[in-house]
């Protein structure tokens, strides 16, 4: 058992996903079996191996510094579930 309920809840908090008690119980079982299963990677000797992040062998493409004046407000806000006075609106944050 790699995970306990406490860890699951901490991870869920980090991922901003609220779990019901039942969900967290189910996930505990699934995730533990998945983590046990991936454990087999430890059989592989990777001491001198470089991690592979991306399969592409080319170099990072760069763009020129050109700005478009897009006047984007209408387009950008169009799909927002809550917008007010040209802003996205969210429940009030106390800093």
């Amino acid at each position: 058992m790699k995970l306990d309920t406490n860890t699951i809840n901490k991870i869920a908090k980090l991922a901003r996903i609220k779990l019901s008690e039942q969900e967290s119980k189910d996930l505990l079982k699934d995730m533990n079996s998945i983590l046990d299963w991936v454990e087999q990677l430890n059989e592989v000797d990777t001491d001198k191996i470089e991690p592979l992040a991306n399969i592409s062998s080319s170099s990072l493409p760069k763009r020129k510094d050109q700005a478009e004046d897009i006047n984007s407000s209408d387009e950008i806000l169009q799909n927002s579930p809550d917008k007010l006075e040209g802003y996205f609106a969210v429940p009030k944050v106390v800093e």
Binding site: D65, S72, V90
Partner: protein, 492 residues
């Protein structure tokens, strides 16, 4: 020797400060998108699909921002890394549309470097730089526009920032101020950041702890997002005192993220970021590693003309200015550029560089400050100011008249010579003319002359003043004095 120590009620304490400066890269478009970086636009008007993290949108890096970071690294005397990686820093916040910030974690573009700060007493000190990395700015949250909502403006979202991290080498609020000034000055010389702290182009997070001299570092607190040198100094003063008080009462410092309240000058813990973070950095799979060849670095290196330290050295060597004066003058590139232009406008001014410095830092500054005008758009051109100083040096006008001429120059943008000619302000050096004036004054004030002759020496000043008035301020004071003394002694 260590005059940075703070006296508590029981012990003396040393303040340990490290700074993380966030400098907005000067560029037309954002780090990973082509929307504009223009400040003060309508909310959410400069937001591309990428900046708003629409599904399926991907980052493409701005070549110029990379060059700007490399230039800055060179200016910080730092190692430029041929290989660097963009990572995702994962956290949730209203103004972070992707749910992660693209930053550089394990492999930054710039490594170790150092900058020198100069003190008034002529001493200098090196502050070591840990690293500089490129990252995206977040949007802006507005908490006071609506009673129940926070508003989010994404115009800044995705703007390129350079985070410059110092070692904890700073020991006082004053040093912190000098350090930021120095970084700001380097950025502005390189034109890699506009240095505008009011608009937020330059902000700093301050890491601060206190210890008894010789002890291990204490627990530190981080004061977030300070955007003026004044506030940084205030915050350091307050926070050091707060920590000392806690420690002297036997308490312990809790590691915390703090906010500085600019209206009451106090720090307080940030409420929204209470829980421990786990940013889960990993290489951004939408981007490939950034490779910069030595040839590119060398090319950028050779494009850099003069940095503040080079210029400071030149001023000390060529113009005989003190290290501190030279460092003050060079700290603002625009001021220093102005000075250079004045000096270069006439060969003879090189000998009198100190007078030029004084005219810039006292007379010109007071006029510009009064009108709230920046030196780079000064209506008085360096060439004309040079001319004015030369006219003083050649005794064409007095320093006093020159001050009036300077005001005229500001208002009319005219050549000082034209103003002097038009207003007939040329100094009177013709002895006979001055003699006539003096004669008249003495004739008009017979009684005073008698009193002077009977021992009231102080009245000499009165005669000088009256004669000057009669000459409309133009009489050469030295000649005037001589003639007066001479005439009066003859009356005796």
């Amino acid at each position: 020797m260590n005059n940075n120590l703070i006296k508590g009620n029981k012990f003396e304490w040393e303040t340990i400060i490290g700074l993380e400066i966030h400098a907005q890269v000067k560029s037309k478009s954002k780090l990973f998108s082509n929307s504009s970086t223009a400040f003060g636009s309508k909310p959410n008007s400069q937001v591309s699909l990428v900046d708003a993290a629409m599904p399926g949108m991907l980052p493409v890096i701005n070549q110029y921002c990379i060059e700007q970071a490399v230039r800055t690294g060179i200016g910080l005397n730092a190692q430029i890394n041929n290989y660097s990686v963009f990572d995702r820093k994962n956290y949730f916040y209203a103004d972070l549309p992707q749910g992660y910030q693209i930053s550089q974690y394990k492999y930054p573009i710039v490594g170790k470097g150092k900058v020198t700060i100069d003190f008034k007493d002529g001493n200098s000190k090196d502050i070591r730089i840990v690293r500089l990395h490129l990252e995206q700015d977040a949007g802006k949250s507005l908490h006071d526009q609506n009673p129940t909502k926070t508003y989010v403006d994404l115009n800044r979202s995705g703007v390129a920032l350079m985070e410059i991290v110092s070692e904890p080498d700073i020991r006082s609020a004053e040093e912190a101020g000098l350090y930021i000034n120095k970084i700001r000055s380097i950025l502005m010389y390189l034109d890699t950041c506009d240095g505008n702290m009011q608009e937020g182009s330059l902000r700093a997070d301050v890491n601060i702890s206190v210890r008894k001299p010789g002890d291990e570092y204490g627990t530190r607190c981080e004061i977030k997002n300070l955007n003026s040198i004044k506030f940084i100094k205030q915050a350091i003063h307050y926070e050091a005192k707060r920590q000392i008080e806690i420690l002297e009462e036997g308490g312990i410092i809790e590691q915390n993220t703090l906010l500085f309240n600019t209206s009451n000058g106090k720090t307080r813990p940030m409420r929204s970021k209470e829980e421990a973070h786990d940013y889960r950095y990993f290489p951004d799979p939408d981007l490939l590693p950034l490779e910069i060849s030595q040839t590119e670095i060398d090319k950028l290196k050779s494009s850099i003309t003069e940095l503040p330290d080079d210029r400071k050295k030149r001023y000390v060597d060529d113009y005989n200015l003190s290290n501190y004066d030279a460092s003050v003058l060079t700290s603002d590139k625009h001021v220093s550029d102005y000075f250079d232009e004045v000096i270069n406008s006439d060969k003879s001014l090189k000998e009198s560089s100190k007078i030029v410095v004084n005219w810039i830092t006292s007379e010109l500054f007071s006029i510009l400050n009064e009108h709230n005008i920046e030196i780079k758009i000064s209506p008085i051109t360096p060439k004309y100011l040079g001319k004015l100083v030369k006219l003083i040096l050649e005794n064409v006008i007095s320093g006093k008249i020159a001050k009036d001429v300077l005001i005229d120059m500001y208002n009319t943008k005219k050549d000082p010579e034209t103003i002097i000619d038009q207003k007939g302000l040329k100094q009177l050096t013709n002895t006979s003319e001055i003699e006539n004036i003096v004669e008249e004054v003495l004739k008009e004030n017979q009684k005073m002359v008698e009193q002077y002759l009977s021992g009231k020496d102080k009245l000499l000043g009165f005669f000088v003043g009256e004669s000057m008035k009669k000459s409309k301020g133009k009489a050469n004071p030295k000649i005037l004095n001589e003639i007066l003394k001479n005439k009066l002694s003859k009356k005796n």
